[in-house]
């Protein structure tokens, strides 16, 4: 587990380093009161040019499977992966990598040329913090030439399915294998918009994800919310067009973001 603490904060049970009695604390509060009074009088008896106060901050770094934003195929920790497609991931220094190539522990060594491949449920994205957060992938972290919108050759788009929140249900006859609640984690646009999986480019969505042509409602961000303890399946959509030949490959670094400040004010739980 990641942990951030600063000494001097009120500890839930007991503070081993800083023992403070109720009396001392009361004195301290009184002292503050006097200082404020002096300041109000404009005398500035308590003036200082600078103060340096050292406080300790301890930070622990955990592997992806145990971090605040966990990327974990086995969220219940029983040693058996809940995710179906862990053969396509590997671990190095606690970081997960997605290997849709010969590094995958399967007989195949890549996707077919001129094909679309979806590998859902590579691992779960788990919110192990204490606040709800909007979880998405920064579309700009994928090279524009490798984005499914506007790219060519080998194109990728991270997906979320089996999501706990929002009310999106796919009713279109999309490609086989697309799950009913599956959405693009990049939105295909700039940020986590209402980006239920799309097969064609669309520029008709505004910043709230409202589609000008089909009137999709703008409760976009609710689809991306994970509350503490909740998780969804992380998957990858891969498109290889007819311009690529066998042996081609790409390597991308995608940026997975969980942002509590983007949870919409309108969000009230499951959103359904």
């Amino acid at each position: 587990m990641g942990r951030v603490s600063a000494s001097g904060v009120q500890c839930p049970r007991e503070c081993p380093n800083e023992v403070s009695t109720p009396m001392q604390r009361r004195k301290f509060i009184a002292g503050l009161g006097s200082l404020a009074a002096a300041g109000a009088a404009g005398i500035g008896t308590g003036a200082f040019t600078s103060v340096q106060a050292n406080r300790s901050v301890s930070v622990s770094v955990a592997g992806d499977d145990a971090a605040l934003l966990a990327l974990d195929p086995d969220p219940d920790g029983d040693g058996t992966n809940e995710s179906e497609n862990t053969d396509y991931i590997s671990w190095s220094g606690g970081e997960v990598s997605i290997d849709i190539d010969s590094a995958a522990t399967v007989d195949g060594s890549g996707v077919n040329p001129n094909s679309t491949t979806q590998i859902n449920d590579l691992f779960k994205v788990v919110n192990q913090g204490t606040q709800a957060a909007v979880v998405y992938v920064d579309p700009d972290s994928i090279d524009s030439g490798n984005q499914t919108f506007g790219g060519s050759g080998i194109m990728i788009d991270p997906q979320a399915s089996n999501r706990p929140n929002g009310d999106y249900i796919n009713t279109d006859s999309l490609a086989g294998g697309v799950e009913d609640d599956q959405i693009s984690l990049t939105g295909g646009y700039d940020g986590p918009e209402y980006s239920a999986y799309q097969t064609s480019s669309s520029s008709s969505h505004d910043e709230n994800g409202t589609d000008a042509t089909d009137g999709t409602t703008d409760d976009a961000l609710e689809e991306f919310v994970l509350e503490p303890g909740e998780f969804f399946d992380f998957g990858m959509y891969v498109s290889a067009d007819d311009s690529v030949s066998d042996g081609s490959s790409i390597s991308e670094t995608i940026e997975i973001i969980a942002d509590a400040t983007r949870v919409p004010d309108s969000y009230v739980g499951d959103g359904s």
């Binding site: 942990r3 605040l68 399967v106 192990q128 204490t130 294998g177 066998d246 942002d259």
Partner: protein, 192 residues
């Protein structure tokens, strides 16, 4: 005293909940992770597609499986007395369950080299004015469509041996071959 008890109770609650879901709030987290993707020849991909038999009705060309009906080498078969046909008749339904040489059953084979059992079927985006092509299971004779796909093809299981059914009803005769894109779909059976 009661108040202190209550605080202690809250403290314990906090501790137990942090055991369950982790400790500490975060405002935002971003993590960069690597994704690598390779494109493999159809014969080595997660969904393995192989040509079957000689005659080049089916062939792996440039890494992808292609079909030519009649086959590129159709003029060599039957051996010794080749027929060298020009094409399919119109308003007909043909089934091609083997290549021209009839040396192996099936026109092509599908093997699952991924991680999950898949159901296999073909689709064709546009059938307007062109022959309708559907894959079928050579062993059972069943057409493999979205509504009626193959039975689940297990990882590493024996290949699904397939042929193509071609329907030319309403398709005019022309010198130039029709260029058709057939999509072969393999969908995991458990929805993940």
């Amino acid at each position: 005293m009661k108040r202190r008890t209550l605080i202690a109770g809250l403290g314990s609650l906090t501790v137990s909940s942090s055991l369950a879901v982790g400790s500490g709030a975060f405002t935002s987290v971003s993590a960069e992770r690597n994704v690598s993707v390779a494109v493999a020849d159809d014969a080595y991909a997660f969904l393995r597609l192989n040509e079957r038999g000689s005659g080049e009705r089916s062939e792996i060309d440039g890494g992808t499986l292609k079909f030519n009906i009649p086959g590129d080498d159709e003029d060599q078969y039957p051996s010794g007395n080749p027929t060298d046909p020009d094409g399919l008749g119109t308003d007909s339904v043909y089934r091609f369950g083997e290549d021209a040489a009839h040396d192996q059953s099936g026109l092509f084979a599908v093997r699952n080299q991924g991680t999950q059992p898949v159901e296999v079927y073909s689709t064709q985006d546009s059938t307007a004015g062109v022959p309708t092509v559907t894959m079928f299971d050579v062993d059972s004779g069943d057409l493999l469509t979205e509504n009626s796909p193959s039975s689940p093809l297990g990882v590493g299981a024996g290949p699904l041996v397939c042929g193509l059914e071609i329907d030319t009803h309403g398709v005019p005769i022309q010198d130039e071959a029709y260029d058709i894109e057939l999509t072969i779909n393999a969908v995991a059976t458990d929805g993940d």
